[in-house]
Subunit: 275 residues, 3 copies
């Protein structure tokens, strides 16, 4: 009998997430990122750390063609203008058309009209995974009080119904980040505990998670398993990093190191964080 | 009687800067940054390190609306095009209208016509604080020989008269960075010594200081106290970082750690750098 | 008789590269960078680490005027739109007109039409150095199978003929990065061994090398010596960094530290990597 700490949840097993980690390492997926200007560097480095490859191809001339070649696509609306929004729509449409998984990160959606409209239009391209905090998921779904930007002012469980509604609409996973992450796919719900508060004091940690979800979704066919494995990978790496770096500058560096170090066995051993 | 090292200046006391540091930590101000593309990551991380929250909302659709919600606004003209310039004007105008402090960082102004014109137009929105090196302050004021970009080729004291003229025009603080920083507010002048030369070998350290000034200006009503406290915080953190990291890569990480570590008592104890 | 490890190649001697390193340190060249949004921070920090100064002046209003003042110009097409492309053409044209060396980094050229066309048009401004991986050099020359973005799917030696053709056309150096770098200038060919695989897992390491080549090309008159010295500097720093940091996050920081630490004597002692 497996020890409780390695069983995973009834929906996503320890073996599932370990297999997904192995598939990312073996497949070296190429993740096209159309993401905000603040987090491009850490996003690229996080992808490289887990064994994936980043490509920030985000102009209107190349976005669609590249999405047909890439393993997966990330769209993050953190910094936006009309031209970027157009490139995002082209990339998401091409990803869908060519059967590539794509992830939508609705940064600060809900509180700001322009990006809220753009993000809602992107839902028509049926994102494989939506990943955001509770305020953003509520904002994307048209519920909630709106946030003051990137901070979650609602708890993850407060967004559970909104996440279920979004998942029903897109057919994909909706992942709500919080102290305990809540992941919804149709009538399946998985929670991921763990991680560390220093992740919230490192710019781009959440945005990088979105990119890792895209990498995992290209390597693992079940999008709920892929999303859970990516969240677990980030949480384990954060805990290990925090054990040796208790300030935000050195924590961010240690976290990148641990994203590299965490392998299938570590994910297997850490699956008790799933419920 | 207080020891000389903790008295501060006659205009800004040790108790003043310690109170400002406490107010930033307690208030967790949300700082909207319209800043150059090179330094966005370190700026966001520096704000997070001191306990503030960054939001890089810099498009023309959202800039004004967000400035009404933010605690303070930073405008840094380091990389600029017409659209960014328009967003900056909208954000600065909204900040002024809604009583939010805002900081202008005139990167490389003086030597380059386009940004010099834009920065001078922004002065009409009466920045709470202008923060730059001597060449930039001279360039903004219409004096000086111009720099070769981001390097200060003039000493901070050389910009004292220009700073006084600018302060008279805007009604705000003008802070001139150098080995000893010179801070002017009307007829008040405060100097901040200390810091470390490695700050000049870390891209974005000065630009991050601009963002921290904005955070402090939202938490502390006297803009001269706020500006002095931000400069002191950065200087103390740099000295502590340099004591354990003598090369630029590791220095930048240590500096972020120390921005987090430096609290009200450290600022109080370090107020002897003020004169 | 000099020991084998310090002789350099028959075309570029150990004394040549040591002299170039000294010239960069003494001259503190100002390098204008028109580069992609992902790597601006590490590029600026790498330039600062070797004793150069960065200036990311990349808008159409200032690009040409600044190129006339800068010591050298870097053009990297990693993230591109029409306006940036126009600024690049203006900067490259101005650099050529004013006798400033300029470096072209054709990121992901070959596989993507838009940037391939832009990069080929830039060749008309006769870059002092072209620096890319084999796929990119083949793509720029109109040969090769095209890459899947930023990864080199061809070996450096596979691009030797393409590099010779490009060098004949531009009159400049063409440097092909790989486990052993191949540098071509007319009928001269120099190879640089060494470095470390962790460089390929740090976003912007290759792009930063392009910027360092620009710094070296402004300080050393022979562009082949300059290019070899920059590659050698990066390789030695990477090996030293990898000796104390075996994960990508901490490696990147150690590499910046070692770029600072590697001086003329280290380059002289390491010239055995040249052949």
């Amino acid at each position: 009998m497996a020890a409780p700490s390695t069983t995973g949840s009834t929906l996503v097993s320890a073996q599932d997430v370990a297999r997904a980690r192995e598939a990312v390492a073996q497949g070296a997926p190429l993740v096209q990122c159309l993401t905000n200007s603040v987090v491009q560097t850490i996003t690229a480095n996080a992808l490289l750390a887990v064994g994936a490859a980043p490509a920030m191809v985000d102009n209107v001339h190349e976005a669609a063609a590249f999405a047909a070649l890439a393993s997966a696509v990330l769209v993050n609306v953190g910094t936006l203008d009309e031209t970027k929004a157009q490139a995002m729509s082209l990339a998401a449409g091409s990803a869908r058309e060519h059967g590539r998984p794509w992830v939508l990160d609705p940064v600060a959606v809900g509180g700001l009209e322009f990006r809220t409209r753009i993000a809602r239009e992107l839902l028509d391209h049926a994102p494989t995974v939506v990943r955001g905090n509770a305020s953003e998921v509520l904002g994307l779904a048209g519920a909630g009080a709106g946030g003051r930007g990137v901070d979650a002012t609602d708890g993850a469980e407060d967004a559970l119904e909104a996440a279920r509604g979004l998942s029903a609409r897109t057919g994909g996973v909706v992942a709500v980040s919080g102290p305990v992450d809540v992941l919804v796919h149709g009538d399946r719900t998985v929670r991921v505990a763990g991680g560390h508060v220093l992740l919230t004091r490192t710019t781009g940690a959440g945005c990088s998670l979105g990119a890792l979800v895209a990498a995992y979704a290209s390597a693992e066919p079940d999008p709920l398993v892929a999303t859970a494995a990516a969240h677990l990978h980030v949480a384990i790496a954060a805990e290990r990093a925090a054990a040796r770096a208790d300030r935000p500058g050195s924590f961010a560096i240690a976290w990148l190191d641990e994203l590299d170090a965490v392998g299938p066995q570590d994910v297997l051993d850490g699956a008790g964080r799933l419920a």
